[in-house]
Amino acid sequence: MRAGEIRVAINSDQDIVAARQKGRALATELGFSTGDATLIATAISELARNIVSYARKGEISLKMVHGSSRQGILIIASDNGPGIRDIRQAMRDGFSTSGSLGLGLPGVRRLMDEFEITSEPGQGTIVTVKKWKQ
């Protein structure tokens, strides 16, 4: 079993596809169900799309994590883009500044078990999400 970290550079819409395929492959390898692997791949797709739309480039990192009694997948989406000024607003359904659907972040939070976001205007954004194996 692969223990290392998989890092996918996100520079274009093609990379969104690559990132979600790698995420699905890792989730399957870790023993996630097809349904959960789909949720994970969908979340990665949204996170990678946010990078392309708002920051133009960044990175998605995928890794296995151990909880006290369970295994999971850890996904970190990071960029050095403009950052998010009002995180609370960005976490509301329907909010968007790029003319997209604006469901990205709250939707991703619903797809995953744990969700954390840090962002500094002018510095970038880091979204960290986890999903645990049932």
Partner: protein, 120 residues
């Protein structure tokens, strides 16, 4: 990646592959609308059975395709959304409001034929 578009009488059938990028989806949207005009098609079936992820961009593009085609006076049916994909879409808050869906190609064709009957 090219999406094959088949012509079956008055209906066009587009079959999506698993790994479509945003650019592929936009290309398909243009292609489908052009072909609907060219062949004077009355119905379009978009088969997404092979799609493993339907994210916000993909569902928005599907909705736009259906609405553009409706403005041309034709009907669109999305067929083959996989159960786990449907589950992820609901969790993400994505809907295909105003777009007809059917279980598979066969049901999609049956839906269109029924629609055509009502119009004729």
């Amino acid at each position: 990646m090219e999406v094959p578009i088949l012509k079956q009488g008055e209906v066009l059938i587009a079959t999506f592959q698993a790994a479509l990028s945003d650019a592929d989806l936009e290309h398909l949207r243009r292609g489908l609308v052009q072909q609907v005009v060219r062949f004077r098609s009355r119905g379009v079936i978009v088969d997404v059975t092979a799609m493993d992820v339907m994210d916000s961009f993909a569902s928005r593009t599907l909705r736009e395709i259906a609405h553009m085609i409706r403005l041309r006076g034709a009907e669109t049916v999305i067929v083959g959304i996989q159960p786990e994909v449907a589950f992820a879409m609901v969790q993400l808050g994505l809907t295909l409001e105003g777009v007809a869906t059917a279980l598979d190609l066969e049901e999609g064709l049956a839906y269109l034929i029924e629609k055509f009957k009502n119009i004729d």
